[in-house]
Every structure is written in structure tokens, then in C-alpha cells.
Symmetry: C2
Subunit: 296 residues, 2 copies
């Protein structure tokens, strides 16, 4: 049962899980959270977690599902709060009105809070049901990546950089490592922990996650500039207008595409090392290639 990330199954199971945990499905905040969570995301972080997990075990997805759900909830909460007028002021997301456009600002703030908290309710429940140290360690990895040593610190730097005249490439990479790559890394590490990897494998996977996360972000920034709203499902050209500091806005198109190719190359080299260790990295290689050329 290798490499079985089936998005339809994932969507149905996450919906079931979400509904089960609600006391009042008709509450506007609960509705708003569901609106944003179930709106056709790429589910990249859950996908990576599962591919990493399945490098090490054939035990089936039940064990990693709660952590996949949690990652997507954390990612979605960060999008809802990022889109708020006081933050990036984005009116479109995943091809639909942003959460605060559809439900109002107060409800959107609470819907984000709900999803972050629900991510933990979900993982804690998994820890209580399964016992053992691995689920707790996976939750720890995800919580560190989501917090002030990871994503939130990256978002803070991102905001601070908007107000600065110039920012170095090293600063941009550090910010993007925190803002985006940290959660990618936690996805791949949590999967590896749940699957039963050893420490050397985890080190390599972390490096891989970092490369792929940075590449993902550069591709995101490129798409903001070269795509159109219909295909991308969100506003475009905003980085330039908002004085966002990205690889693209600071270094230009050529340097950005070159860095993207470089990161993907480095990611694939790490996969060779893991393959030499006896792991079947076919699906991760496919994913890396998809990320390089993705249109949304």
C-alpha cells in the first residue's frame, strides 16, 4: 500500500473528522472555518507527510491522518489571518472570496483561531488513542514549526520587510525558511517519525523538506507575477504593489527561476542519498518535479 495519497479520500475523511468534532455545525464561526478548510486546496503539506510516512511503513494511513488534518488546519488558519485587511488584505483565496469577505472580519478571526485550536484537539486525540511516544513527538515537531520559532516568526519578518527599503537575499531566504519551509519540514519529519525512521534518515529528510519548501515559495512568488487570477484562484501582482520582499521582487525573474531550479536539483540529490539507503523515493521525486512547474 505504498504512495496512496488519494485526495478524494482525504477530503471526505477530513470533512467527517471536522463535523464529528463540532458541537454546533450551524454556528457562523464553525461554518466559516469549514468554508475555508474545504475549498479545494492542494493539500500539499498532508501529501508530503503521507509520502514521507509511507517511505517507512505499509501500516495504512489511519495512523498519520490526524497529523495530516492538523497540518492542513494550521495552513488554512494562517491563510485566513494572512488575508485579513490588517494583514495582506486579500479578497480572493482558492478561487473564492476570502473568509473575511464571505463572513466578516470578526468571524474570520475566530474561524482562524478555531482551526489552529482544532489542529491541536485533533493531534491530542490521536496521542490519547494510540499511546506511545511517536505521536507526541510528531505533534511537538508540528507545533514548533507553526509557532514563534517557525511560521509566525516568518510572517512577522515578512510584514517588517515590507516597510524596509532593502533586504538581502540571505534575509529573504531566512524569512521564507521560517514562513513556508518550516511547516514543509515539519510535515516530512512528522511523517518520518510516525513511520518509524532513524535519525540519519530524518536529517536527510529535513534537508529535503527545506529545499522543497523554499522552492515552493519561490514558485509561489513567480506565479503571483506570471499567472492570472482565474488559474491561480487568488489575487495576483500583489507582491510588487505591497512592497513584498521576495526572491523575485528583489533579484528579478532570471535569478528566481535559476534559484528554483537549483533548489530542486539539490532536493533530488538528497533523494538519491535516501534511495541509496534503500528507500523508494519515486513519489517524492515526482512531487518535486510537479512543484517546479505547477500552475497553481
Amino acid at each position: 500500500m505504498k504512495n496512496t495519497f488519494n485526495q478524494d479520500h482525504f477530503e471526505a475523511e477530513m470533512r467527517q473528522h471536522f463535523d464529528n468534532l463540532q458541537r454546533d455545525l450551524k454556528d457562523p464561526v464553525v461554518e466559516a472555518a469549514a468554508y475555508s478548510l474545504f475549498s479545494g486546496g492542494k493539500r500539499m503539506r498532508p501529501r508530503i507527510l503521507q509520502l514521507s510516512y509511507e517511505l517507512f511503513t505499509d501500516a495504512g494511513v489511519e495512523r498519520c491522518r490526524p497529523f495530516q488534518f492538523a497540518l492542513e488546519m494550521i495552513h488554512t488558519y494562517s491563510l485566513i489571518h494572512d488575508d485579513l485587511p490588517a494583514m495582506d488584505n486579500d479578497t480572493m483565496r482558492r478561487g473564492k472570496p476570502s473568509c473575511h469577505i464571505a463572513y466578516g472580519e470578526a468571524t474570520a478571526i475566530l474561524a482562524g483561531d478555531l482551526l489552529l485550536n482544532l489542529a491541536y484537539e485533533t493531534m491530542i486525540d490521536a496521542c490519547l488513542r494510540s499511546g506511545g511516544r511517536q505521536p507526541l513527538e510528531a505533534m511537538n515537531v508540528i507545533s514548533r514549526a507553526a509557532g514563534a520559532s517557525g511560521m509566525i516568526l516568518g510572517q512577522s519578518q515578512d510584514i517588517a520587510f515590507e516597510k524596509r527599503e532593502s533586504v538581502s537575499v540571505a534575509e529573504i531566504e531566512e524569512m521564507q525558511e521560517l514562513k513556508t519551509a518550516a511547516l514543509f519540514k515539519s510535515a516530512i519529519l512528522a511523517g518520518a517519525i510516525l513511520g518509524g525512521s532513524d535519525t540519519a534518515q530524518q536529517e536527510l529528510l529535513l534537508e529535503f523538506g527545506n529545499k522543497v519548501g523554499l522552492a515552493f515559495q519561490i514558485r509561489d512568488d513567480l506565479l503571483d507575477s506570471i499567472s492570472n487570477e482565474q488559474e491561480l484562484g487568488k489575487s495576483i501582482g500583489k507582491d510588487e504593489r505591497d512592497n513584498k520582499k521576495t526572491y523575485l521582487t528583489v533579484q528579478g525573474y532570471e535569478a528566481a527561476t535559476q534559484r528554483l531550479a537549483e533548489l530542486n536539483e539539490e532536493a533530488k540529490i538528497i533523494l538519491f542519498k535516501l534511495e541509496a539507503d534503500g528507500l523508494d523515493t519515486y513519489e517524492l521525486r515526482q512531487l518535486t518535479e510537479q512543484l517546479e512547474t505547477r500552475k497553481m
Copy 2:
């Protein structure tokens, strides 16, 4: 070592803990989170957790500290987000400018997110260090109370009620049970779990927590009407202006004070039952009386 909630020790240890977990203490979002967390709150929820814990054990506070910190972080994050312009639009909190007044809205949103996440980082770390099932169960109780079956659902109802013409007393009590009492109940239950209580004791303590939580909220609503800003440290008279539905705004002063006295009476009766079970409830009784007459 019974009944030793020392606020100075608590403050110093929480500060140390907060600083230890930060990657960048100079980051504006981290600063804003610290500004709100260390601004002289009453620390009511950590206090209750510890008093409950010490009903059952003399083992010292090290074991319950992380959960006390987490509760205060969750409470503080909810205040930061509640005070935002899109929510209650409060400009004063704990005698100082609200977080978004001092640091701007974007930073305040992220500071709230940081504190919620940090609460979980804190508890997960405690679970990893101590092992055993009790810390995980305490974290579970707190996470359910903070989420869409507790505080967040209560906040959502609170907002929805503002727009309604009339709300029944039963609806107000349900909303306040979720918005305020749920976290009080989780404090007392988490303390009891960590201290090693039995199920019958936990049932009684949950009832007690519910009464005290509701009483706390009614006193809060009374203070909003009868106190002054200097003493209270936050804006007053807002409930009436904002069309908030509270026991006081809907039922009037006399009914509210009567319900407050009634709840405190019921809370003390539960303490008698716990005393009959051999527990020393002196400190919880003191606390109940303080809550009834508190000025801030």
C-alpha cells in the same frame, strides 16, 4: 506545601519560560505577545488550577506550572483578539493600551496566534518531559475548553447576540458557560487530573468550576457598569453601548447581583461535599469569596 500560589514566583517563572522558548526576543510580534502576557493580569485561571492540584498532592508546582502558563497564554490570546477593532474594539486592557493600539493590528493578530500556539508548545513539552497519561489528559481538557466546543463557540454566540433584539436568560448562561466558565472548568479539572483525583471528585470540581466561572462573568459584567476605568484597567460601560447581552443588560442590576450570590452559595455547597470527602477546601472557599466582591 499546601495552597502556595505566589504571584511573584509565578510571574518570574512564566517570564523565564517565555523567554526560553523564543528564537528572537526582539521580534515585534514576540514583543507584543510579551507586552500583553506580562501586564499584571489577575492570573485567576492559573491560580484555580494550582489550588485544585494542591487539593490532591504536596508534590510541588513544577508539575502543574506548564499548564498554568498555557491557560494564561490562552486567556491572553483571547483578550488580544477580542480587543481588535473588528471584534470588541477595546483600546484599554489591564490598565494599558490594548495590544493593537500599542503595536498595530497585524502584529496584534499574530501575537494572539503566537500565544495560542505557545500554550500548546508549552504543554506538549511538559508531556514529553514527564511521560505518563495525566499530562496528556490535562492538555486534552484544556484544548477542548479553548476550542469550538468551548470558548470560541461562546465568543461566536456573544457576537451573534449583539445583533439580536432579545436573548433569553438561558441563552445568556449557555453562552457564558462556553465563553468563560469552560476555561475555568478546564483549569480546575486539569489541576485535579495532575494532582491525582478520582472521578467522583472531578465531577464535583467541574460543577464548582462552572458556578465560579459563571459568577466570575456576572461580576465582570457588573464591574463594566459600576466601576471606573482607572480601577478596572479597561474601558467601562461598553456592554450597554455595544448592545452586549449579559445577565446585567438583560435582567437588570438586582437580578444580576442575586444570581451572583446564588451561584456563589451553590459553589460553596459543593465545597462542603468535597470537604466531607476529606479535602481541605479552605483556599478555594477564600477564592470564591474574593471573586464575589472583587473590584477588578
